[in-house]
């Protein structure tokens, strides 16, 4: 197990964005965080990455609690919908990731090729389309050195072909031992790509496991025949 989250909670005024969230992340797995819009997926990632304070809860790794500053060597979070350094080129952003975030220079060319960024290297990030920006952000994330990579909506803004190409690129990195924790609101995308899932609804974890494990859980809740369709399982558990 890479790390475990226990009792994570976050309130925005009277609204509970996260309530007693608990789950674990295994080394080298592709873990999907699925849930509808507003389920608290981004909030959960931001709390884990330490860019948003949580009200309660902690993370453990190797049997001991890991503080926010220590978590920085454990995981890196790529937010959705941001356009960092909009006036700078994609190529510069990748170099900055390698230099400032202590990323891996040896992966640069490979990541550029995998995410089809060669033609965009000299283009300012602020001028990129949504899909191009997403690919640039994924490249930044893939170059970072932390063992776990948290990506908020990795397929958002991508067409089918790009989504498939990126999925296979992410698989390559996962196969090398990098843990990927992906927040995905399209359950069909998640079902195709992830090894295990965490179902989040209204800030609560409704289930954690592989599709068969979640199907069994849903069946036990409703005393019905287990379905292997993740969408059905999700609806049954949330």
């Amino acid at each position: 197990m890479l790390f475990e989250v226990k009792g994570l909670s976050k309130q925005f005024g009277r609204i509970a964005a996260l309530s007693d969230v608990a789950f674990h992340v295994r080394e080298g797995e592709v873990l999907g965080l699925i849930g509808p819009n507003g389920a608290g997926k981004s909030t959960l990632f931001e709390c884990l990455a330490g860019v948003l304070p949580s009200d309660a809860g902690y993370v453990t790794a190797g049997g001991r609690a890991v503080g926010t500053s220590e978590r920085r060597s454990l995981l890196f979070y790529v937010p959705d919908g941001i356009a960092p350094w909009p006036a700078q080129s994609v190529g510069w952003a990748l170099d900055f990731t390698i230099g400032f975030l202590r990323g891996r220079a040896d992966l640069r060319e490979e990541v550029v090729a995998q995410l089809d960024l060669l033609g965009l290297l000299n283009q300012p990030i602020g001028t990129l389309s949504k899909g191009q920006r997403k690919r640039a952000l994924l490249a930044i994330g893939l170059l970072t050195p932390q063992p776990a990579l948290l990506i908020d909506e990795p397929f958002e803004g991508l067409d089918l072909r790009q989504a498939r190409d990126i999925a296979s690129a992410l698989r390559v990195h996962a196969a090398r031992g990098r843990t990927l924790f992906l927040s995905i609101h399209q359950i069909s995308d998640a079902a195709r790509f992830c090894d295990r899932f965490i179902l989040l609804s209204s800030g609560r974890v409704c289930g954690e496991g592989t599709v068969p494990e979640l199907a069994a859980l849903a069946a036990s809740h409703h005393a019905s025949i287990p379905s292997e369709d993740l969408e059905e399982v999700f609806l049954a558990l949330t």
Binding site: A49, P79, I82, A83, P84, P86, A87, I98, F100
Partner: protein
């Protein structure tokens, strides 16, 4: 394989690039040319006229110092730019990361927020120094006219404007981190600046503690530097305020820390800064860098005053807005405090303007008390004040040394070529450099 360059250098490089692609900075540079041009050309014209240009009667120019006549007005363009343009450059650089989402990525690096804000402040100060090249280039023009330049007073003035810019940067950085949106930060920054003007106004009207506080506002600080006076207390207060502003910015940059904790840390920082400012007020050292010794008595008088060790108390019955009080303060007491830091000055008045107090018995009197002896005078000139002190101390006034008297540097020349430099050459250079640099760095 990882980069060997330290992350801080990467951050500096990034901030430099962000400054170079920032339109706000190029607008600041563009505006500096005409702003400095207007000030310099009108200052040189006035200086020339009082020196006898265009048939005017020379005479006043004989006592005119280039610091007061040319450099103070020329560099006043920096004061305008620091209030109305620099905050937007600073807000753009500090708030830009938050707006674009880059802050969320950069915070995960683990670098101390103080180091992050230091990188931004250093780059902003470098950007300001580039902007100051234009008033500094006026020195070359002045020299080409045959004008005199006394380096210590110009350096002091430039340092004052650098400190003032530091204050603006720190204020804008704090506001950018404290608020969610850059426009709110801009409003708050200008609000604080207007607040310091209100303090100045109250200081002029009310006197007392308001007057003391007004002495540490950016406008008052710059005014001292414009007279070639470098005061340790004012400079240290400015540095404490700069550090406090940058500290506040660093505290509120940490998005992952609870708001309550950030608020407690901010209060603690403000208390430490207040204590620091209070401690700075006990520093009395100052240096008069002006060639004309505008902030000092003649050296012989200073030597005579230093020999008086008995405590001196002055009680002036003058209202805060009475011009005589201003004369007394600027021409005598401010100079006296530099030589005799222990001098106690007390102002007594029932009204703020003094106009309706004129008939009151005792109004306008200045009482001197030294070693149990008392004297009264109504003179507000430096000579009058010194005479009273010497008479009380039983010291004979030193002989006036003619060689010491500042004779001024009259120069009756028009500002030839200045319009071309400041209105055409500089804006042209800025535009060309801006286009090239933005292309190169984008």
């Amino acid at each position: 394989m990882r980069s060997h360059r330290p992350p801080f250098l990467w951050l500096l490089n990034k901030e430099c690039r962000e400054l170079i692609v920032s339109r706000a900075w190029w607008v600041l540079l563009l505006c500096m040319g005409p702003l400095v041009g207007v000030s310099f050309i009108s200052a040189v014209r006035t200086y020339g006229e009082v020196s006898g240009l265009n048939g005017t009667s020379a005479g006043v120019g004989e006592a005119l110092s280039p610091l007061i006549g040319v450099w103070a007005p020329t560099f006043s363009a920096c004061e305008l730019a620091a209030v109305f343009l620099l905050p937007f450059v600073a807000i753009r650089l500090v708030a830009g990361d938050r707006q674009s989402g880059a802050l969320k990525l950069e915070l995960q690096q683990g670098m101390s927020p103080f180091a992050r804000i230091t990188a931004k402040a250093l780059v902003l100060l470098a950007g300001w120094i580039v902007a100051m090249l234009i008033p500094l280039s006026a020195i070359i023009l002045w020299k080409s006219y045959g004008g005199s330049v006394y380096a210590p007073e110009v350096i002091t003035l430039a340092f004052g404007h650098l400190l003032n810019a530091g204050l603006t940067i720190a204020l804008a950085a704090a506001m950018s981190s404290l608020t969610e949106h850059p426009s709110t930060a801009a409003i708050l920054t200008l609000g604080v600046t207007v607040g310091t003007w209100i303090v100045n106004f109250f200081g002029a009207v009310q006197g007392g503690w308001w007057e003391r506080a007004a002495g540490f506002t950016p406008a008052a600080m710059v005014a001292e530097f414009q007279h070639g006076l470098l005061r340790l207390d004012t400079s240290c207060v400015a540095l404490v305020l700069i550090l406090a502003g940058l500290g506040l910015s660093a505290i509120w940059m940490r998005l992952g820390t609870e708001v309550g904790r950030r608020a407690y840390q901010s209060v603690a920082l403000c208390l430490v800064a207040a204590a620091g400012i209070y401690a700075c007020t006990f520093l009395h050292a100052s240096w008069d860098s002006s060639e004309s010794r505008a902030n000092s008595f003649p050296e012989a008088d200073e030597m005579a005053l230093r020999k008086i060790h008995v405590p001196l108390t002055i009680e002036a019955h003058l209202a805060p807005e009475d011009p005589r009080r201003l004369d007394l303060e600027h021409h005598a007491l401010s100079k006296l405090r530099r030589v005799m830091p222990s001098v106690q000055v007390r102002y007594v008045s029932n009204t703020s303007i003094g106009l309706f107090e004129q008939t009151r018995a005792g109004y306008g009197e200045i009482w001197y008390s030294l070693g149990g002896r008392k004297n009264m005078s109504r003179m507000t000139t430096a000579e009058g004040v010194l005479e009273e002190i010497y008479s009380l101390a039983g010291v004979s006034p030193p002989q006036e040394n003619d060689a010491e008297i500042f004779r001024g540097h009259p120069l009756a020349v028009p500002a030839t070529g200045a319009g071309g430099v400041f209105y055409i050459l500089w804006p042209g250079l800025v535009l060309a450099a801006g286009i090239l640099a933005r292309r190169r760095f984008k």
